[in-house]
C-alpha cells in the first residue's frame, strides 16, 4: 500500500505554494505602478517642453529669422538638461535641431502618417529616450504654417532605477516565499507538539496500567475526539483484559478443586495396601473427576471458539417446534420422574446452526426442569413477531433467581448458589454457553424472575436477515 506523504511535508508545501502564488502577484502590481509612475513623470516633462515650444512658435511667421528662432528654442531647453528637440517646418524643412540624439528620422517618419500625437519609447545606440512627436498646426489662425516637433527625454536613469528596483523586488519575494515556507514548517512542527505529547503518554501505558486515561481537557480542541475515543478504546481493552485474567483465574480455580480431589484421593489410596475392589472404586471415582474436567475443558473451548469466530455457524432453516419436540422426547423420562410437565406453545422457523441451537435450548430446558417444583410445568413458547424476529421463551415455576444474581447469570462459572457447584450442576458454564450461542446468531437473551416463575427469553433474527448476514461472510 502507498503511504501518504507526511503531514509536515504536505502543510509546508501548501504554505510554500500559497506564498509562491501570492507574492509574485504583489510584485507584479508594484512593478507596474513604478513603471507607470516614471512614465507619467517623463510624459509630464515632455508636455512642459511641448507647451513651451508651442508658445515659442506662436510668435513665428514665415519671415522670422532662423537664428532668433534657434536662440529661442535653446533657451527653452535650458533647465531640461536631459531633453533635446527637433523641429520640422513646412515641407519637411528642418527648422531647428538641438544637440543630442538624431531625431530627424523619427520626425520625418512621423510626418508620413496622420497621427497628430504620439509618445513612445525609443532607443539609439547608447541611450533610451521617451519621445513625443506631434504636429502643431495652428490652422485656426490663417496663414500660420504647421510644424512637426519631436521632443525626446533621456530615460536611462529611470530604466536603470527600475531594473534595480525589480531586482530587489524579486529577491525580497523569493526570500519571503522561503521564509513563509520555513514558518509553515515550524508552525506545523509546533502544531504537532500536542500530538507528540499524546504519543508519549500513550507509550507510557503498559498492560498493568490500562486504567490510565488521557485527559481530553489538556489537548487542543481538535484532538479532543482523538483523546476521548482513545480513552474509550482503552476502557474496552481494559475490560476485556480484566475479563480474560478473571477468566484465567476462574479456570485455574475450577481445575484446582478436582485436581485436589484426585491428588488427595490417590495419595490416601496409595498410602497402604488395599483390596482390588477398593482400587477399582478409587479409579472409578477418579474417572468421574476426569470426566468433569474434560467436559469443562470442552465447554471452555466451545466458548472460546464461539467468541473468536462467531461467524462460523452453519446456517440452515430450522423448524424450532420440531427441535423442541425432539428435546422434549429426550428430557421426557427425566421430567416425568420429577413429575414435571413439558408444554410447547406456538411454532417458528429460524435460520441457525442446528447443533448449536439444540445445545442452547437443551441447556435452558434442563435448567428449567431442574429448578421446577414437582407437579409443575415447564413451558416453551415460540413466536414470530411482525418484524420477523423469533422469540423463544422457556418458563418454569419454582424458586426465583435473586435479583442481584440476574446480571451475572450468563457469566462463566457463575452459580446462583455457590455451595451447589458439586451437585451435578456442571461447572456453571451452561448459561454462558447459551448466551454465546445466541450472540453468535446475532440474537439476544434476557431473563425475568419473579412471582414464583422464571422466564428466559431468546430473541433471534428472522430467517431472511440471518441468511443475509451469513451471506456476506
Amino acid at each position: 500500500m502507498h503511504r501518504p506523504p507526511s503531514l509536515a511535508l504536505r502543510l509546508t508545501l501548501l504554505f510554500g505554494i500559497a506564498a509562491a502564488l501570492i507574492f509574485p502577484c504583489f510584485g507584479w502590481v508594484i512593478n507596474r505602478s513604478m513603471e507607470k509612475h516614471f512614465e507619467a513623470e517623463d510624459v509630464a516633462e515632455l508636455q512642459v517642453i511641448d507647451h513651451a515650444v508651442e508658445e515659442g512658435l506662436s510668435g513665428v511667421h514665415s519671415g522670422t529669422d532662423l537664428t532668433t528662432l534657434e536662440r529661442r528654442f535653446k533657451d527653452l531647453l535650458v533647465g531640461h538638461h536631459r531633453a533635446s528637440m527637433y523641429l520640422l517646418g513646412e515641407g519637411k524643412r528642418p527648422i531647428y535641431e538641438s544637440p543630442g540624439p538624431d531625431l530627424s528620422t523619427l520626425a520625418q517618419a512621423f510626418s508620413a502618417n496622420t497621427d497628430s500625437h504620439t509618445v513612445h519609447q525609443w532607443k539609439d545606440a547608447q541611450h533610451s529616450y521617451r519621445v513625443l512627436i506631434r504636429r502643431v498646426s495652428e490652422d485656426e489662425i490663417i496663414g500660420r504654417p504647421s510644424y512637426i516637433i519631436a521632443i525626446a527625454v533621456q530615460i536611462d536613469y529611470h530604466l536603470k532605477f527600475l531594473d534595480h528596483f525589480r531586482e530587489t523586488l524579486w529577491i525580497v519575494i523569493a526570500g519571503s516565499i522561503a521564509i513563509m515556507t520555513l514558518m509553515g514548517w515550524i508552525a506545523v512542527r509546533q502544531g504537532h507538539a500536542p500530538l507528540r505529547d499524546i504519543v508519549t503518554q500513550i507509550r507510557r501505558i503498559s498492560a498493568n496500567e490500562l486504567n490510565t486515561r488521557l485527559s481530553p481537557e489538556t489537548v487542543p480542541r481538535e484532538l479532543t475526539d482523538l483523546a476521548v475515543s482513545f480513552n474509550e478504546m482503552l476502557a474496552r481493552v481494559d475490560q476485556a483484559f480484566h475479563r480474560l485474567s478473571d477468566f484465567n483465574a476462574d479456570i485455574a480455580h475450577e481445575l484446582r478443586t478436582p485436581i485436589a480431589n484426585l491428588m488427595t484421593q490417590t495419595q490416601v489410596a496409595l498410602s497402604r495396601e488395599r483390596t482390588i475392589d477398593k482400587y477399582r472404586e478409587i479409579l472409578y471415582s477418579n474417572m468421574e473427576e476426569y470426566e468433569r474436567m474434560a467436559q469443562m475443558v470442552g465447554d471452555m473451548l466451545f466458548l472460546a471458539q464461539a467468541e473468536n469466530s462467531p461467524r462460523k455457524i452453519n446456517s440452515a432453516d430450522l423448524d424450532l417446534a420440531r427441535e423442541v419436540h425432539m428435546l422434549f422426547d429426550y428430557y421426557e423420562g427425566w421430567a416425568e420422574e420429577r413429575d414435571v410437565t413439558l408444554v410447547l406453545e406456538g411454532a417458528a422457523t429460524v435460520s441457525g446452526d442446528r447443533l448449536m441451537l439444540q445445545r442452547a435450548l437443551g441447556n435452558l430446558l434442563s435448567n428449567a426442569i431442574r429448578h421446577t417444583a414437582t407437579g409443575e410445568t415447564v413451558r416453551v413458547g415460540l413466536g414470530t413477531s411482525i418484524d420477523g424476529t423469533v422469540s423463544i421463551v422457556v418458563e418454569n415455576t419454582g424458586a426465583e433467581i435473586p435479583a442481584e444474581a440476574i446480571p451475572k447469570l450468563f457469566e462463566r462459572f457463575y452459580r446462583v448458589d455457590p455451595s451447589r457447584q458439586r451437585d451435578g450442576n456442571g461447572a456453571g458454564l451452561g448459561l454462558a454457553i447459551v448466551k454465546s450461542i445466541v450472540d453468535a446468531h446475532g440474537g439476544n437473551i434476557d431473563v425475568v424472575s419473579g412471582a414464583g416463575r422464571t422466564r428466559f427469553r431468546i430473541i433471534l433474527p428472522g430467517p431472511s436477515t440471518a441468511v443475509a448476514d451469513t451471506g456476506n461472510e
Binding site: K312, D329, W334, L355, G362, N425
Partner: protein, 227 residues
C-alpha cells in the same frame, strides 16, 4: 482385525494399544508420522487411528497419500483441536470419523467397531435377537421369552442400539446422539433415567438381567455372561 495407531504421545498410545488389544484387536503402533506413513502404505490394516498433530509427517499427509494411492481403509482421526475447519478438512481428505481429545475410551471403541462394521455387508435383518430377547424391526414388536413387551418408539430405538452393539459398552453421549440425535454433553442423568425405564420393562420381571451398567463408562447389553 488389525488396527494401526499413529500417535506420538507415549502414555496415550500405550493405553490405546492396551485397550484395543484387550478388546480383541491386533494393534500396530507407530510413534511418529514417518513410521506411521510407512506402515500405512506397506501393511494391510482394517482401520487406522491417526493423530492429526504429529511432529514430522502429520495425519493429514498420511491420509492424503493413502487416498491418493487408492487405499480405502477406514481412518479415525484423533485431535486435540476441536475446530470446524479441522473437521471439515479431515472429512474432505477422506477421514471416516473424528474424535476430539479427551474422549471416553468406550466412545473410541464404539466408533472403531462401527467403522469396522461399515465395510462388511450387512444383511438387511428383520429381527434382532439377544439371549431370549427378540426385536421385530418391521412390526416394531419386542418379545422376551415369548412374552410381548410394549415399548415407546424411543425405548425401542434404545433397545435396538443396545442389541446391535451387544457386548459393547456404549457411552452415554453415544446413546444420546444415536437415539435422540442430541449431540451435546448434557449434565443431566437423562440417559440413566431412560435406561432405568427400559430395564423396568425388559429386565425387572426376568431373572437374567441383560442391560448392564458399566460404571463410569456407560451401558452394555450382555449376552455372553453366565447363562
Amino acid at each position: 482385525m488389525k488396527i494401526l495407531i499413529v500417535e506420538d504421545e507415549v502414555k496415550m498410545s500405550d493405553y490405546l494399544r492396551q485397550g484395543l488389544i484387550e478388546a480383541g484387536f491386533v494393534v500396530d503402533l507407530a510413534r511418529n508420522g514417518l513410521d506411521g506413513h510407512h506402515l500405512a502404505m506397506t501393511e494391510r490394516y482394517d482401520l487406522l487411528i491417526l493423530d492429526v498433530m504429529l511432529p514430522d509427517v502429520d495425519g493429514w499427509r498420511i491420509i492424503k497419500s493413502l487416498r491418493e494411492s487408492g487405499r480405502q481403509v477406514p481412518v479415525l482421526f484423533l485431535t486435540a483441536r476441536d475446530s470446524v475447519d479441522d473437521r471439515v478438512k479431515g472429512l474432505e481428505l477422506g477421514a471416516d470419523d473424528y474424535l476430539v481429545k479427551p474422549f471416553a475410551f468406550a466412545e473410541l471403541l464404539a466408533r472403531v467397531r462401527t467403522l469396522l462394521r461399515r465395510g462388511t455387508i450387512t444383511t438387511t435383518e428383520t429381527t434382532l435377537t439377544a439371549a431370549d430377547l427378540e426385536l421385530d424391526l418391521m412390526s416394531r414388536r419386542v418379545t422376551r421369552a415369548g412374552r410381548r413387551i410394549p415399548l415407546t418408539a424411543k425405548e425401542f430405538a434404545l433397545l435396538e442400539l443396545l442389541i446391535r452393539h451387544r457386548d459393547e459398552v456404549l457411552p452415554r453421549s453415544l446413546i444420546a446422539s444415536q437415539v435422540w440425535d442430541m449431540n451435546f454433553d448434557s449434565d443431566t442423568n437423562v440417559i440413566d433415567v431412560a435406561i432405568r425405564r427400559l430395564r423396568s420393562k425388559i429386565d425387572d420381571t426376568f431373572e437374567r438381567k441383560l442391560i448392564q451398567t458399566v460404571r463410569g463408562m456407560g451401558y452394555m447389553l450382555e449376552t455372553t455372561g453366565k447363562d
